[in-house]
């Protein structure tokens, strides 16, 4: 394992007030390291997505701190947090959230364009990332013309195009069949994960557990344990 990419310290998040107050995450602390494929697993409503949102600068915790490469995330200004998300963190959303009116390559180019890269240059670079995910020949198609697995790979290409240190995938296999799901995670493990990158996957798909380096289990808003994966990943 490399050095610490993200460190969460005593994170607490509740929603509502008074009788309607619900605590989604209770005193969560953990570390994710560079070169590590960390799974956050647990049943629905266990607080996985809320925790993920807090460590990625999307949802402010009520208590606790998040250190991203040593910097306290929630002490930053909102624009700085947006910059950090743009430059350090790549997201693969559960429903991909690709732009149906843009071509595949334009979708991939979005983080680069947000980084103020020239349009043509961004498309050129994006083609290289589409090649990495094996979809260069689909570059000019709109996402609706791609299969679920291909859309997932476009979403991954978009997430890594900005060259993030931390890649976060939210339920990446939720809408894929078992075979395609395994292929996607295997692809992430072999092609995306490296010593300079940390990958965090939120899932409750036990079929892909074998690829994890570390599995962090959550239940009822609490982290109930860590498991070093002893299974031999393919």
């Amino acid at each position: 394992m490399g050095k610490v990419a993200i460190k969460a310290n005593g994170l607490v998040k509740w929603f509502g007030e008074g009788d309607t107050k619900t605590t989604a995450v209770k005193n969560a602390s953990f570390e994710a390291n560079f070169g590590e494929l960390l799974y956050i697993v647990g049943p629905s409503g266990s607080g996985k997505t809320t925790l993920l949102s807090m460590i990625s600068g999307i949802l402010k915790p009520n208590e606790g701190a998040v250190l991203v490469e040593g910097k306290n995330l929630w002490e930053m200004k909102s624009d700085d947090i947006a910059d950090l998300r743009l430059n350090k963190i790549g997201f693969v959303f559960q429903d991909y959230h690709l732009f149906p009116r843009l071509t595949t390559v334009e979708n991939v180019a979005i983080p680069l364009i947000l980084k103020k890269m020239d349009w043509n240059e961004a498309l050129k670079v994006s083609l290289e990332y589409l090649e990495i995910v094996g979809l260069k020949d689909r570059a000019q198609l709109q996402p609706v013309k791609l299969s679920g697995g291909e859309q997932q790979r476009v979403a991954i290409a978009r997430a890594i195009a900005g060259h993030p240190d931390i890649l976060i995938l939210d339920e990446p296999t939720a809408s894929l069949d078992g075979d395609t799901g395994r292929k996607i995670v295997e692809f992430v493990k072999t092609n995306i994960l490296n010593d300079q990158r940390c990958v965090i996957i939120v899932t409750h798909d036990s079929r892909i557990y074998e690829y994890a380096d570390t599995i962090m289990k959550m239940e009822d808003g609490k982290i109930i344990g860590f498991e070093r994966n002893t299974l031999t990943a393919p």
């Binding site: 997505t49 949102s53 999307i58 949802l59 983080p111 364009i113 020239d118």
Partner: protein, 378 residues
């Protein structure tokens, strides 16, 4: 164009149905607004046509007169007094009245008769046929060749007609800057012939036209005329008086204002609703952009850009459509009174900006409210 705006552009134009609906809404609104205001402007312009065509610097009239066609005859001493005021270079009478003309075919046609001062012909129109001196010939009249010309059976120089049982002879054809409002042909003759041929009341001077020695004399002349119990207005003041009369005292202005407001509301409703739906449909994508790292001001710029582009294209299409419609209408209908002015274009542009602003505001509020966390939650 920056990359983020290019994304905004593609999101907008690649959604062809929404983009078309947005354009139709704004184009329709601009078309209606421009049409309404242009017609109103055309009507106002025509209502002042006599003042503009005769082009005297100062018009003296009874204070109750509110437009050139409904003059109240004044006694002769008004003219004499006007001539004696310091600062008056010269003052002439003008006859303005209506007459029934019996045409060669036997048909009758109402016409406006303008009687010009015999010695100066001050306010005479530009002749396109005939000789100006011929106006002093027996029974001589000039006919204005405008949209109403055909109603006099398109007379030529030498054509005869009857006017109140007097013989009339066309000795020239004239052109004027603007046609009248009420679709009545105009003929010119001398003042003395006009008051002879057309039955009138004890007083015969419809207006006294004054040429001041200098611009600085105008105010003094106006004061002196006021002392007589009459009113002296500059050309612009008289045009404004006529405009105010038609705008505020005939219901015309209010009706056009209401129609323009309805056009604006229709356009705003269609465009605002469509743009709001467009934003709603893309809300998750804007949320995803936020999660990826787009800042609030970048999202605002995208929405403003989309609203502005749609509005400007819609504005251009609307103005183009209205102009085309007016050109075609004028080809078929000579009396069609509509004119596009810079003021109308500017007003419609401001209205379109308001439509864009309101649509953007709704969209921006919605987009700024969406939290990336909502995207994660699905």
């Amino acid at each position: 164009m920056s990359g983020i705006l290019k994304i905004a552009w593609k999101l907008l134009v690649n959604d062809k149905s929404k983009f078309t609906a947005l354009l139709v809404g704004i184009t329709f609104a601009v078309f209606l607004m421009v049409m309404m205001m242009s017609m109103f402007s055309g009507i106002l312009s025509r209502s002042s046509s006599s003042v503009l065509n005769i082009s005297a610097k100062i018009w003296v009239m009874d204070p109750a007169v509110n437009n050139a066609t409904s003059s109240i005859p004044m006694p002769d001493y008004v003219l004499s007094t006007a001539r004696s005021i310091n600062g008056v270079k010269y003052a002439v009478p003008l006859y303005f009245g209506g007459a029934l003309i019996k045409l060669k075919s036997g048909a009758y046609q109402a016409a406006t008769v303008v009687g010009l001062d015999d010695s100066t012909l001050y306010g005479r129109p530009e002749l396109i046929e005939g000789n100006i001196d011929d106006i002093f010939a027996e029974n001589a009249f000039f006919v204005v060749k405008d949209a109403e010309f055909k109603k006099l059976e398109s007379p030529k120089v030498g054509t005869e007609f009857e006017i109140n049982d007097h013989r009339g002879l066309v000795v020239g054809l004239a052109k004027v800057a603007s046609s009248g409002l009420f679709g009545v042909p105009t003929i010119y003759t001398t003042y003395s012939r006009a008051i002879t041929y057309i039955p009138s009341s004890r007083f015969t001077t419809s207006f006294v036209l004054i040429e001041p020695k200098s611009e600085s004399d105008i105010s003094f002349i106006q004061q002196q005329i006021k002392k007589l119990g009459y009113q002296a207005l500059t050309r612009d003041q008289f045009v404004q008086k006529i405009t105010n009369f038609y705008t505020f005292q005939t219901g015309l202005g209010m009706n056009v204002l209401l129609m323009t407001a309805i056009s604006f509301i229709v356009g705003l409703s269609i465009s605002g609703q469509t743009f709001y739906t467009f934003i709603l449909e893309n809300l998750e994508r804007f949320g995803a952009l936020k999660a990826i790292g787009a800042k609030g001001n970048e999202l605002i710029s995208m929405i403003l850009f989309q609203a502005s582009v749609t509005s400007l294209i819609g504005y251009g299409l609307g103005v183009g459509l209205a102009s085309t419609f007016m050109i075609l209408a004028k080809l078929r209908l000579p009396d069609y009174a509509a004119q596009v002015t810079y003021t109308i274009l500017a007003f419609a542009f401001v209205m379109v900006l308001i439509i864009a602003g309101v649509s953007s505001y709704i969209g921006i509020r919605k987009v700024l409210q969406i939290q990336p966390f909502d995207i994660f939650r699905g």
